[in-house]
């Protein structure tokens, strides 16, 4: 799993590459820590190269979403593969997190 963060003005462009599962969810959490800092701006996550997320991955997305909302910023997940989108759909996470 690779996480690339590029900060531009008040927005963080994030690119996810690979699977998020039990083996790397902790690392994923550590990788997105900069996005939870008080001065972090909006978050836009490109999921086009993300092939899977487990429940642990969903938990990280949820924490990230809460942190972003607490700062009154926005988070959006984009370009999700159908099999990943289905995970968000059947768990109801697509009603919690903005997916485009």
């Amino acid at each position: 799993m690779e996480v690339t963060i590029t900060k531009t003005d008040d927005k963080n462009m994030v690119v996810l590459n690979g699977r998020i599962d039990t083996t790397n969810a902790d690392q994923f959490m550590a990788d997105v820590q900069p996005l939870m800092q008080p001065d972090a701006g909006d978050v836009e996550i490109d999921c086009s190269e993300m092939s899977y997320t487990s429940s642990q991955g969903l938990r990280v997305f949820l924490m990230l979403q809460k942190s972003v909302m607490a700062r009154q910023k926005k988070m959006v997940l984009k370009n999700m593969k159908p099999q990943v989108k289905e995970v968000f759909d059947i768990t109801g996470f697509s009603n919690i997190i903005t997916i485009q």
């Binding site: 059947i90 109801g92 919690i96």
Partner: protein
């Protein structure tokens, strides 16, 4: 200090005024702070709390007109004036009761102008209390005059305030003759504002009564008697009506439940032409098992152990739509109502429809 053409007596009052300004500013701070405190503490939602110290020019004007009436500065009770503007007439009384409790009211000089208007006239109606700061609220032995000086608190509704400001703007009270026709129009306007004030209070009382009645019906379980609207649906949600289904679905994978907002489903129920909370209850009874079966099919074969509570309502609505013959298009409308892109929702609708077919729901 300018002379303003005042006589010696009035000039002495003006000198006293200038000497007292620091204490007046302290009084203003105390009074405004206390008014904010009592309004907040009693959960009153008021339009504004404001205060001002009469300017030197304004005081000079007053002294020019009726200076002989005042022996000392302390005889003038509106050097410091505070105002609480409420939204509703009954809240004027609530604020007044609190002012009586928290300040010393000089009853001999306080006026309820709401009670002294003439039978054949309307207009400037507000409640004016002349008060002092009690020692229990603030005391500085260097400045006991802070507890001796009086100040005025005006309490009025927003519409009474509008009237007062407009009336003042017309110059009605300036002593300049205003033509009869304008006075008549002002009086008509005042009557209209008074009626509007009464109507706003009456409507609020009726809405409050309605909400209480509905909450009673919801709590007693008489759902068929409760029409579906934003208020009743909110009360209904406070009973956690979907919790049993949520927990049953979560038990499939021993999933952690994330409680998300179920209010957006109100629009879905309206779109489904549900008229009462009883319609939602019937949907639960008739299709709860099918919604559970759909969830088993969706997540039973995965190791996903976290879910949003709204999954239960969403699948309940999906099953209802399919059973009513809504098909894939009906599901698309459901998912579009919950957000996301039309393309993704079309795919999602197709997935749900396929799953429902596999378990013979359609």
């Amino acid at each position: 200090m300018q002379a303003y053409g005042l006589d010696l007596h009035c000039q002495m009052i003006m000198e006293e005024y200038n000497a007292m300004l620091p204490q007046m500013r302290k009084m203003q701070e105390i009074v405004e702070q206390q008014l904010h405190h009592i309004v907040d503490e009693n959960h009153l939602y008021v339009n504004a709390i404001e205060s001002r110290i009469k300017s030197e020019e304004s005081l000079a004007g007053k002294l020019l007109l009726k200076g002989a009436k005042y022996m000392f500065l302390s005889d003038i009770t509106d050097i410091l004036g505070a105002r609480v503007i409420t939204f509703y007439t009954d809240e004027v009384d609530k604020v007044a009761a609190l002012v009586e409790k928290h300040f010393e009211v000089d009853w001999d000089n306080s006026v309820d102008k709401r009670k002294i208007y003439q039978l054949n006239s309307f207009g400037y109606m507000s409640l004016h209390y002349i008060c002092r700061i009690p020692r229990s609220l603030y005391y500085d032995e260097q400045h006991p005059e802070i507890n001796e000086m009086r100040f005025e608190v005006q309490m009025r509704t927003a519409l009474q305030h509008v009237w007062a400001v407009m009336n003042h703007d017309t110059g009605y009270k300036s002593g300049v003759e205003v033509p009869y026709e304008h006075l008549r129009n002002l009086t008509r306007l005042a009557g209209m504002l008074e009626l509007a004030d009464e109507q706003f209070s009456r409507i609020r009382r009726e809405i409050t009564d309605y909400r209480r009645r509905v909450q009673g019906l919801v709590s007693s379980g008489n759902f068929d008697e409760v029409p579906l609207n934003g208020d009743t649906y909110r009360s209904y949600l406070s009973l956690h009506p979907f919790q049993q289904l949520v927990e049953k679905i979560a038990a499939i994978n021993q999933a952690e439940i994330i409680n998300d907002n179920l209010m957006p489903y109100y629009d879905v129920f309206v779109a489904l032409d549900f008229k009462s909370l009883g319609d939602i209850e019937r949907m639960k009874t008739d299709y709860g098992d099918a919604a559970y079966q759909l969830s088993v099919h969706q997540i039973g074969s995965t190791d996903l152990d976290i879910m949003a509570a709204s999954v239960a309502v969403l699948n309940l609505c999906a099953v209802y739509i399919l059973k009513m013959g809504g098909g894939v298009k009906g599901l698309e409308r459901l998912y579009n109502a919950m957000g996301g892109t039309p393309e993704a929702n079309a795919m999602r609708a197709q997935n749900t429809f396929s799953n429902a077919q596999r378990i013979n729901l359609v």
